[in-house]
Symmetry: C2
Subunit: 348 residues, 2 copies
Amino acid sequence: MQEPRRAKKKTKATSMDIAHRAGVSQATVSRVLRGSPLVNAETRKRVEEAVRELNYKVDRHASSLRTQRAGTLALLLFEDPTPDDSHINPFFLSMLGSITRACAKHGHDLLVSFQQLSDDWHADYEDSMKADGLILLGYGDYIAYESKLAHLVAQGTHFVRWGAVLQGQPGISIGCDNAAGGALVGRHLIARGRRKVAFLGDASTHFPEFFARYCGCDGALREAGLRMNPALQVDADSSEQSGYDAARTLIARGHAFDAIFAASDLIAIGAIRALTEHGLRVPDDVAIVGFDGTPMARFSNPPLTTVVQDTSGAGELLVASLLRLVRDEPAESVTLMPTLEVRASSGG
Amino acid sequence: MQEPRRAKKKTKATSMDIAHRAGVSQATVSRVLRGSPLVNAETRKRVEEAVRELNYKVDRHASSLRTQRAGTLALLLFEDPTPDDSHINPFFLSMLGSITRACAKHGHDLLVSFQQLSDDWHADYEDSMKADGLILLGYGDYIAYESKLAHLVAQGTHFVRWGAVLQGQPGISIGCDNAAGGALVGRHLIARGRRKVAFLGDASTHFPEFFARYCGCDGALREAGLRMNPALQVDADSSEQSGYDAARTLIARGHAFDAIFAASDLIAIGAIRALTEHGLRVPDDVAIVGFDGTPMARFSNPPLTTVVQDTSGAGELLVASLLRLVRDEPAESVTLMPTLEVRASSGG
DNA sequence: CTGAAAGCGCTTACAG
DNA sequence: CTGAAAGCGCTTACAG
């Protein structure tokens, strides 16, 4: 007899209970639940009824132990530059949303974990059978990052990452066409009559996403006989504070500029704050364009023109590609086209 | 012979492999890995070495099947009013961050799932042994919600929820002391010389969090011989658009007001936009205070005074309480004290 | 179309 | 302190 100290959960039904109730073997119950065609329609109906009556759910661990499939993916979210709580880049949170939805659509569960880029990664999700594969999300110094990717490949880990798609890169990546995005910005600013475009964000091979945005914008300027001026580039990582600091540095240098291309929306919003404090008007004195298409771009003052990344498409593609890898099917890196959303910060 | 079509993952090591290598029984390997004291120090060392050499990880499914513990919690995030992708309330995303961290700290994994409040919930995470318990996050019509909570209790599901802590409520809740937060706002506005305080947000038992904020503010006004004027209350759910619409409605009503207490930061930011469009200055003509303490409050223009909820404390408490329930230990509902962060939108 | 049986990789009484 | 053995709840060849 169980001690009824508190409302005890009644013991969970097993496939044995279902079998008994439906008058079939336990193997047949399993066949029905896995959707095997090898079951008589009548039998199937009896089993399904028993399943409903007892509110039976297949035990995930028993099933996974037998099939050697977890039915789960793991999302590793890197948050290196801003280790302070709750200050995750909102762009990655949009990605998290779309990845979660894509997982559900593909009938998989999603484990979420935050990682320091510097840490040993929880790549052991797969070794412990907790997940069939990994989705890596978050930027950081790519040079350090790449060797870890190579390590994952060497271990045979199934993974996809979000980020710059580069030649000869280990593993497969899904990323925004950052150069195309940068070109959209360059052409837009030129069409608005701007000539001296500053860039806030690291622009080196250590941060290939930002670098490609820079180069794309430069390419568009060159089409118009202009070019980016390295004296108007200031390093910044993707945070409001960093954007604020970078804009102040830019102003302090004393070179003239009439537009800022910020490598991310957060940087742009920090830059607007710095410019406003300094008595510069946006967009009258300086046009500003961000990158990412985060919700806050719409609410900033003035509303921010931004390059919108296709987060829904990205989530779906990340999940679908990873599931292909898990099934040992071929998959390849893909680049997604961004779009420009014009708002008041660049003259509307 | 395996077909070497592509780099095959070498077969995963099992505890048997470790046992063989360390020259002990498989049972002893298991004891070492579970930290049993019933192992000789020498033996332990040999086993640990073999574990390291073969990069062995305990198989989660085998372990969980045996122990009947998943070692995993599930987070159900409701997003009813705004089903459009990527527009999740940033406050909940902060919560997600802190919950993730708290889970890691307590040695548990976290499954994340988005749910429609109207749907059948994925309460079956526990029935299928995928998770030991549920964390419920997200507001919505509480009246509809409460019956679902009662249902979960009746089923013996282990869960905690974030939200208003009410008398006689089913299950346990962790929530902000919304009335105290409202009182902070009321006293602050009075101290700034404001007298006619409008409220943007539903204020009924259907939305007990907003309602308590309203009542708390009203209580503070009464201490000063004033009170909230129902004619200055406009319904709104927690979105920028809804805040914008509500502020326009408020203005259209034509009653004088010199302050707005917005039930959330998103509502406040929408309200600022509406006021600005209408030629009203913040804070000179109207002081505005939000609620939540989201990152965007700092970046809004003007920066938004807001009631900061303790998301780190909340995440930790949610996880710790749920784990107590899972272990059949007593746990109870708790209310967390918020703080007021004063910025320029209320006169600084 | 169905059942009996083996086995996935652990954990933990039980016996020594 | 250690090993042999049972068993967690499934899935899937195998035999009929």
